[in-house]
């Protein structure tokens, strides 16, 4: 049995965060992030800043990057809508990397109708913004793709997203 198979989905994401040497995280909660956020918060090697709105998080992460950190944002995909001007007129304008680790709601298995519009708009919005996104299926994928996505963000000097849909969080 591999280490991955005994990990929870949250632990697999956390492992990716560690492997990617992410040392600065802002977060806005999602029910699917409820295990992950405390792991990040208690990690002495990660500065964790809970923020009030994702757009604010983009600004804080931009400052952290300019201060030499490797920043990421834990968020729900609804927060992509709250961030677009900052992603464009700050990160894309100046060439600032950011990894967005996104709980992707409003997809298969979604119980809340209000999540559906942004659920459907998330990938097209990222494409319009020319922000690459990764779609891990397994826990191993998530660990690996977070590392690749972070490298991509720094190589491209732009935001990159990893989308983690409802079925990802429900796997054993």
């Amino acid at each position: 049995m591999s280490a991955q198979s005994v990990m929870t989905p949250s632990e697999a994401v956390y492992q990716g965060i560690k492997d990617a040497c992410i040392d600065f995280i802002v977060s806005v909660p999602c029910a699917n992030l409820k295990e992950l956020i405390p792991m990040v918060d208690s990690d002495p090697d990660i500065i964790h800043v809970p923020v009030t709105r994702e757009e604010e998080g983009v600004g804080i992460c931009a400052g952290a990057y300019m201060g030499g950190k490797r920043p990421a944002m834990l968020m729900q995909n609804s927060g992509l809508g709250n961030s677009i001007n900052a992603l464009a007129s700050l990160d894309i304008l100046y060439g600032i990397p950011l990894l967005m680790i996104m709980s992707h709601r409003g997809v298969e298995g979604e119980p809340i109708v209000a999540q559906l519009p942004m659920g459907q708009l998330t990938a097209p919005l990222l494409e319009t913004l020319d922000i690459p996104y990764f779609l891990p299926e397994s826990k191993q994928d998530a660990t690996d793709m977070i590392v690749t996505a972070m490298d991509d963000a720094f190589n491209r000097k732009s935001p990159v997203a990893v989308l983690l849909p409802i079925p990802f969080w429900r796997q054993a």
């Binding site: 804080i60 931009a62 400052g63």
Partner: protein, 189 residues
């Protein structure tokens, strides 16, 4: 007091104390550029509302450096949650100066809510910030800037813009020069 006078005082403090300085969107950035263009300055050309957030990210990442952000009333009203996040993190190397002229100066001086009674000093206090200063004079601002390297200052000025040229640096040039300065060890200054 004019906004340009307040910006000059803040820029002088930043230069003297070798602080990193985040300038706010629009004409305030141009006024800063005109007053004192040094590598410590980051000119935020877009992303209205995020000057205080960028400053917070810098301060948390570089605890050995001093960081100052210049914000405006219209911008703070757009990202008021930032005042709560700053209160929560409260880095002791971070000073936020909010220049409140009661107007959206860069877009034609339309009134903001602060011209109608919103008190940003009380908002900042209510958000949980322990050190909040309030002044409407150049002398008062100078004194506060001499006194502290952290907290939040609300400085009330007249609406209106100085006649200043555009910033000619590209965004790439702005960030490259700023990051070279930010990464310099503090001991070498």
């Amino acid at each position: 007091m004019k906004r340009m006078d307040a910006i000059s005082e803040i820029a002088e403090k930043a230069a003297d104390s070798n602080a990193l300085l985040v300038g706010n969107i629009g004409i305030p950035c141009k006024e800063l550029h005109q007053t004192c263009d040094i590598p410590n300055n980051f000119y935020m050309l877009g992303s209205m509302g995020l000057a205080s957030s960028i400053g917070l990210g810098l301060a948390l990442s570089l605890p050995e450096k001093k960081v100052i952000a210049i914000d405006g009333d219209g911008s703070v009203l757009m990202n008021m949650g930032s005042l709560a996040t700053i209160a929560w993190q409260a880095p002791d190397n971070y000073l936020l100066v909010i220049i409140d002229n009661g107007a959206y100066g860069s877009t034609g001086n339309q009134p903001t809510a602060t011209s109608q009674g919103t008190d940003l000093a009380r908002v900042a206090e209510g958000a949980g910030n322990l050190k909040v200063y309030d002044t409407d004079s150049k002398k008062g601002l100078k004194k506060i800037l001499q006194e502290t390297d952290n907290g939040i200052i609300i400085v009330r000025t007249l609406p209106g813009n100085a006649e200043v040229p555009n910033i000619k640096m590209s965004p790439e040039e702005i960030i490259k020069r700023f990051m070279a300065e930010a990464s310099r060890p503090s001991s070498s200054v």
